[in-house]
């Protein structure tokens, strides 16, 4: 794979086919993680690590265990087990080596496995018939797009603190409407031609 096609792929996965804004996966952490940039970046990095590794392991588990045994129906459980183990492992490593950082994000730890984007990336890879390299790239760039969304929204939230909405709209309803507007802005990337460098054979709508 040449450098330019890799760059195109990266751009398409992060912006034009952003998992959050084009497929609505992983919105939970976006709303729950506080507006602090440091927490947002740490959670983003954790999810990137878990998602990339889980894409690789999920592919291996499917190709070498489930398919030979004809047990594809166990896919959901196996993927969830992989994701849970990886996120518990990531939490342990973080608490061992970076305890200060772990203190900031420990409340958000259950959000890592209970995140549609992580499982969704593996399931979409199966649906698209990705090979190993494609699956891992999809997991990695997809999660980078997720981390970008988390960081962008963190900045938007800081501005929303200043707003004075109707009482029923305060907090999450307002965040959702703001996310809708960001999603609309991300639609603009749809018109860009990436020269076929997409990991997504077809789009949602």
């Amino acid at each position: 794979m040449s450098v330019s096609s890799l760059l195109l792929l990266c751009f398409s996965a992060v912006f034009a086919e952003n998992l959050v804004f084009t497929r609505l996966l992983g919105v939970g952490p976006l709303i729950t993680v506080s507006g602090k940039p440091k927490a947002a970046l740490t959670v983003g990095a954790l999810i990137t690590a878990v998602m990339t590794l889980s894409s690789a392991l999920a592919f291996a588990a499917r190709r070498f265990v489930l398919e030979p045994l004809g047990a594809q129906f166990l896919q959901i459980i196996v993927y969830v087990v992989i994701i849970v183990l990886l996120s518990e492992g990531a939490g342990l490593l973080l608490s061992r080596f970076l305890p200060a950082l772990y203190g900031i994000v420990s409340v958000y730890m259950p959000l890592v496995p209970a995140n549609c984007a992580v499982l969704g990336a593996s399931l979409l890879s199966v649906q698209f018939g990705h090979g190993f390299v494609q699956s891992v790239l999809f997991g990695f760039f997809g999660s980078l797009g997720f981390a970008l969304a988390l960081f962008v929204f963190c900045g938007v939230r800081e501005r929303l603190e200043l707003a004075d909405p109707p009482r029923s709209f305060a907090g999450v309803p307002m965040y959702l409407v703001a996310l809708g507007l960001i999603a609309l802005a991300f639609c603009g990337f749809k018109g860009v031609d990436f020269g076929g460098g997409s990991l997504f054979p077809f789009t949602l709508s």
Binding site: F21, T22, R23, L24, L25, G26, V27, G28, I31, T32, F73, L74, Q75, I76, I77, Y79, V80, V81, I83, V84, L85, E88, M109, P110, L111, P113, A114, N115, C116, A117, V118, L119, G120, L123, L124, Q127, P166, R167, S168, F169, V172, P173, M174, Y175, L176, V177, L179, G180, L181, A183, L184, C187, L204, S205
Partner: protein, 202 residues
């Protein structure tokens, strides 16, 4: 203290609605709200899975060590979602195909995680089943309302029948992911408004 069925119904559907007030499983809700028919199927599945996982985890309460509870809850829910997926693909194959990845995605819904943590791990199986029924219905209600609004405004149809006449083919915005965010925001605000009004009336 024994709680009545009406208590569970009121908390699950309105005052502690899992989606609109407790904000659980919004990620899955947004993704699944593109079509009303799919939303109904997924809502029914969510109720059944929540009842089963609540009852199972209520029976296992005290046996699951505290440090292993998140994995245990997630894997239990994943087990029941697998059962639901097999059941749907056996009995409703066409619905199973149109649901695609959304039914499997339900396995990581924080609805199951949070109800297990907040209720089933501290209450008996009968109460947990009731909690599952009404929390599940409350979640399904928000899902169906959001899908209804999106399908009505986005395509001008309900269950494939055109509502406003053939000239109106919908505002594309509501069918886009952006529309899902905005619709859900308004649905949640409406639930909060109704909740506040009923509380003020007392």
């Amino acid at each position: 203290m024994r709680k009545s069925v009406s208590y569970f119904a009121k908390t699950g559907l309105l005052t502690r609605n899992p989606a609109a007030i407790q904000l659980l499983g919004l990620c899955f809700l947004l993704a699944a709200s593109a079509s009303l028919k799919d939303a109904l199927t997924l809502g029914v599945c969510a109720v059944l899975v929540l009842v089963c996982s609540n009852v199972t985890l209520s029976l296992l309460r005290g046996l699951i060590p505290d440090s292993a509870r998140v994995p245990a809850y997630l894997i239990t829910a994943a087990g029941f979602v697998t059962v639901a997926e097999l059941a749907v693909s056996a009995w409703l194959p066409s619905a199973g195909r149109s649901l695609g990845i959304y039914l499997p995605l339900m396995a990581v819904n924080s609805l199951f995680l949070a109800r297990a943590d907040a209720f089933a791990s501290e209450n008996g199986p009968a109460a947990s089943a009731l909690d599952g029924v009404f929390m599940g219905l409350g979640y399904a209600l928000v899902l169906v309302i959001t899908a209804f609004v999106r399908e009505l405004l986005g395509a001008g149809r309900i269950f494939g029948f055109s509502v406003f006449g053939r000239a109106f083919t919908g505002v594309p915005f509501f069918a886009l992911p952006a529309g899902a965010f905005v619709c859900l925001g308004f649905v949640i605000a409406a639930f909060r408004f109704v909740k506040r009004k009923t509380e003020e009336r007392k």
